[in-house]
């Protein structure tokens, strides 16, 4: 299939569909509402995991401060790394689905 059927990039940059595309692209980034929600989920969960680690090491056993704080930080980092690729696409898909449902009038407005 020849490429000349592709829309001209410069035209698309100004077109309404380009703006819509930018909206979608924005939703995928971290700065949008969806990105913030995802950040709250993975950041919050990682923080809770790190906190649990710190509490356990503080109240059980006799770990030095560096092990408690350092370990909590390492747990936080690894949890973030594990959760980010899981949470971000899920939140993005969830919001996309919800937008579709709302357009159909089938969603429940909170």
């Amino acid at each position: 299939m020849p490429d000349n059927h592709l829309t001209d990039p410069t035209d698309r940059a100004e077109s309404p569909s380009a703006r819509a595309g930018a909206e979608i692209a924005g939703a995928e980034g971290t700065g949008s509402e969806g990105g913030r929600l995802a950040a709250v989920v993975y950041g919050g969960t990682s923080f809770v995991a790190a906190l649990v680690f710190w509490l356990v090491t503080t109240f059980v056993g006799s770990y030095p401060a560096v092990a408690r704080y350092g370990g909590a930080a390492w747990v936080f980092v690894l949890f973030m790394i594990v959760l980010m690729p899981i949470v971000i696409p899920r939140v993005r898909n969830h919001r996309r689905r919800r937008r579709t449902e709302c357009a159909d009038g089938t969603c429940v407005i909170d």
Partner: protein, 872 residues
């Protein structure tokens, strides 16, 4: 928002109303403008309505939405994780229906709806994920660009190595500070600060790329190999820095710095990247060889003036001048001159082919002796060579089913490894350290003990080692690198695989079904026997009479007799009173004698007693030949037998297939006696005779229902359904366009030994894929548990992060090197002293470095000699 599609199939106002109404019925669509004349449908809709939903609605209404395809070069991908990352980046874009990203070729092939798929958006999405993307160029321009990119990558990694390795070496020496005379000059505290100062530029100079790439991906929810490096290097450096700046923080103190880990980790990973960049380019050598065959300049005669122009600018109909020693710039037909052309690089035939007025010339071949003037018939993308290149490129850029599994594993591998790293940390921190740690234990291949390392430092070390030793790269590279090399090797020997899937399925073939006419046989009847019975009558005289009466006939058997006389140099006298009796024979006056030629019934009807020849005629028929009686002046004069002759290599190819453990079947519309005669001559195992063209596919299905994995080899239009039904369709070079479009493999020549070559190439490639996957998975399966410390309770040794990095670098390089061994692949037919198609023709191993494929490379539509149109 508005979305515009190009829709085919709308022919009237009713169609317009139907499309409009159908789209308006969708929730979220507010307006639809349909222009029947241009086929444009512009839909105004809510962003929640996807382009796919709109297109699906149009298709459901019975129309076709035009597709567009975009092929981009993607730079910076280094592992299967990157492939997944780029695919995910593109998949979510409006109008995109399918994405295939190839690590081996560094391309992204994006399909979508014409009018919606926007190049800029696709490029931006790839760039946003940390890679470079640009439209894939054509031919040599792409080759030059790829070389430039690889050159730049090699230079960049070489520069990084020059920075990382000397510093890492100094850091390593300083790490052994306690052993030599260094303590005399440098106390421990100072040493740590020196190490910190030396490691900092390594981590944030050459190592910066890993942090940047992993962060770009992570913030969009995707991971790749860089993340493993970044966490490993980052954590090592961080602990070392804390122990230097805050020695009493409890990480093991100033004695336990891991600067050498961070530095050597970076250095080894960069070494791996450099070696990978160096070796990966070599897997695509075949395509480079092909591209280099394309001449850059053509000498064109325009308005009577000779002008040198770029070969790309030659137009169909241009007259091109060719001097001795020059390459043919495009495909064409000779209009003036006489010469011989070396077509070895395309056909593999070492003897130059004579060319005179009316002969076809193929772009990329070399003119040897004389000057020629020819008219361009195929230019640019339509030349045989361009189409071969495109087929090989497509095969290299596609994915085999086995690769999709590997991609899935590799894509989720990084996440899994981080999870494992977390579990290893927690396990050793809370339980393992207290149960097994002894201060005298030490690193593998190192005399240094772990000393007073605490639970945190110990657990962290093992956690980092797990991250660093794991290598999804090896898993990700295992399949595409071998597929690229295999597709290229196939092309080198005249076998074009249409995709990686074709390579994989070819390796599984257990039964090969051959069409008869034009595949096993030449597809052109020829005189096989001339049997005179009249006293004093020579075979040539009998043939001359037969050819004389047949020269006015248009029957294929008659043409064969005339051609037989011409080939034997027999002069054919003129005929008068020619008459043809359809279905029986022909008659006429030759040199004043009444000559009849036809079947037995024709002889009987004409009052000729041919009973004495009946036995010989029956013998010929039993051999699959068609006997034709010749009578002169009312007396039986002899028999001329005509048959479709076997190709030279048919019997040998089938014998070789049997040696390979394959079963062979022949399928034909001919009568059983002829079919079995041919089958017996070549050694076919099973024959399906008297099969109507439309039933060939059913026969293939029947074999499949017996549990056989079937390849069909054919050439004709009537073979197309069977080619499609078989697991692997193999179209031979002289076949029809339909057969070649349907087949999964195209043999550029019509030599059946190439069927053997195709299967050997498929098997060799898949063997390599399996070896690669085995080593990649075995490496990870063994390496990760060892890095996680499973042997520590028994051996008291752990793998340090720097050693883990070394193993990781070795693993992905070893996969690429193993793939490069495919370069040594040589089909049986081409081995020195082998039984290949080149025997007796002076073709020896290595005498055609640039052989590549194909005769008259019949790939180009039209303008192709259809040598073997199947008639059965």
């Amino acid at each position: 928002m508005k979305t515009t599609f190009i829709v085919h199939g709308m022919s009237c106002a009713a169609c317009e109303a139907k499309v409009r109404k159908g789209l308006l019925a969708l929730a979220g669509v507010s307006d639809v403008v349909v222009t029947v004349t241009t086929g444009r449908v512009t839909v105004t809709h809510e962003p929640s309505v996807s382009a796919r939903a709109l297109a699906d609605t149009v298709v459901a209404l019975g129309y076709e939405v035009e597709d567009a395809e975009l092929v981009l070069s993607v730079e910076g991908m280094s592992c299967a994780g990157c492939v997944l990352k780029v695919e995910q980046a593109i998949k979510g874009l409006p109008g995109v229906t399918d994405v295939v990203v190839s690590l081996g070729t560094g391309t992204a092939r994006v399909r979508g709806y014409a009018g919606v798929l926007a190049k800029r958006e696709v490029v931006d999405a790839i760039v946003a994920h940390g890679y470079e993307a640009s439209e894939k160029l054509e031919g040599m321009a792409q080759l030059d660009r790829e070389q430039e990119i690889r050159g730049a990558e090699l230079r960049r990694q070489k520069l990084n190595m020059w920075m990382a390795w000397p510093l890492a070496a100094v850091i390593m020496v300083l790490t052994f500070q306690g052993m030599w005379i260094i303590p005399e000059f440098m106390p421990t505290t100072v040493k740590n600060w020196v190490l910190f100062a030396l490691t900092l530029p390594v981590v944030f100079g050459p190592g910066r790329q890993f942090f940047v790439h992993s962060w770009r991906g992570l913030r969009r929810g995707v991971t790749d190999m860089n993340l493993l490096y970044a966490t490993g290097i980052g954590a090592s450096f961080l602990i070392a820095s804390i122990n230097t700046i805050f020695p009493n923080a409890g990480f093991g103190g100033k004695q336990a710095t891991f600067f050498e880990s961070a530095a050597l980790l970076t250095a080894f990973i960069i070494l791996g990247r450099y070696l990978e960049a160096l070796t990966r380019g070599r897997t695509s050598e075949s395509i480079r060889k092909l591209m280099k065959l394309q001449p850059k300049v053509a000498r064109v005669l325009r308005s009577g003036i000779e002008t040198d122009i770029p070969a790309d600018e030659v137009e169909v109909g241009d007259l091109i001048l060719l001097r001795p020693g020059e390459s043919v710039p495009v495909d064409g037909v000779v209009v003036e001159g006489y010469s011989s052309i070396d077509e070895a690089m395309i056909t593999g035939e070492s003897i130059p082919v004579e060319k005179t007025v009316g002969s076809k010339v193929i772009g990329g071949t070399v003119n040897r002796t004389g000057a020629l003037r020819f008219e361009a018939t195929k230019v640019g993308k339509d030349t045989a060579l361009s189409q071969i290149i495109r087929l090989v490129e497509d095969a290299q850029a596609s994915k085999a089913p086995i690769q999709r599994v590997a991609d899935l594993v590799a894509g989720n591998f990084i996440l899994g490894v981080h999870l494992l790293s977390l579990l290893v940390f927690l396990g050793w921190f809370f339980a393992g350290y207290h149960a097994f740690f002894t201060p005298t234990s030490h690193f593998v291949l190192s005399p240094y003990s772990l000393g007073s390392m605490g639970a945190f430092g110990f657990s962290m070390l093992l956690s980092i080692s797990v991250l660093v030793i794991s290598c999804p790269c090896a898993v990700g590279l295992a399949t595409p690198s071998a597929m690229m090399a295999g597709a290229g090797k196939g092309a080198e020997y005249g076998v074009l695989f249409k995709g990686a899937e074709a390579i994989e399925t070819t390796s599984k073939i257990r039964t090969v079904v051959f069409d008869k006419t034009g595949t096993i046989t030449k597809g052109r009847p020829a005189v096989t026997d001339v049997l005179p019975v009249l006293p004093g009558l020579s075979p040539d005289s009998l043939l001359a009479w037969a050819a004389a009466v047949e020269q006015n006939s248009e029957h294929p058997l008659g043409e064969a007799i005339v051609e037989g006389a011409r080939v034997r140099g027999v002069a054919v006298p003129a005929t008068v009173d020619f008459d043809s009796v359809p279905g029986h024979g022909v008659k006429g006056q030759v040199d004043g004698r009444r000559v009849l030629l036809g079947n037995a019934a024709f002889m009987t009807e004409s009052g000729v007693d041919a009973e004495g020849l009946a036995d010989r005629a029956a013998e010929f028929a039993a051999q699959g030949k068609t006997p034709m009686f010749v009578a002169v002046d009312g007396q039986a004069a002899g028999i001329v037998a005509v048959a479709d002759t076997l190709k030279e290599s048919s019997a040998e190819a089938i014998a070789r297939l049997h040696d390979m453990g394959l079963r062979t079947v022949m399928i034909t519309g001919d009568n059983r006696r002829t079919a079995e005669a041919i089958a017996a001559q070549v050694g076919i195992d099973e024959v399906f005779a008297e099969v109507l063209p439309q039933d060939k596919a059913a026969k293939i299905k029947e074999l499949q229902s017996r549990g056989q994995f079937v390849a069909m080899v054919g050439d004709g239009v009537n073979d197309a359904p069977a080619l499609a039904q078989a697991q692997v369709g193999i179209a031979i070079g002289s076949g029809t366009d339909v057969a070649k479009e349907t087949g999964d493999i195209i043999l550029i020549k019509s030599d059946l030994m190439d069927v053997v070559t195709a299967i050997e190439a498929g098997r060799a490639t898949m063997r390599k894929v399996k070896q690669n996957l085995f080593w990649a998975f075995a490496y990870n399966s063994v390496g990760i548990p060892i890095a996680a410390g499973v042997l520590y309770p028994f051996t008291g040794q752990i793998v340090g992060p720097e050693l883990a990095a070394f193993f990781m670098a070795i693993s992905s390089v070893s996969v690429t090197l193993n793939t490069l061994l495919l370069r040594r692949f040589k089909p049986t037919a081409w081995k020195t002293g082998g039984q290949g198609p080149g025997r007796g023709r002076g073709r020896k191993a290595g005498d055609r470095r640039a052989k590549i494929a194909g005769v008259e490379a019949t790939l180009a539509k039209g303008g192709v000699e259809v040598a073997g149109q199947s008639s059965d």
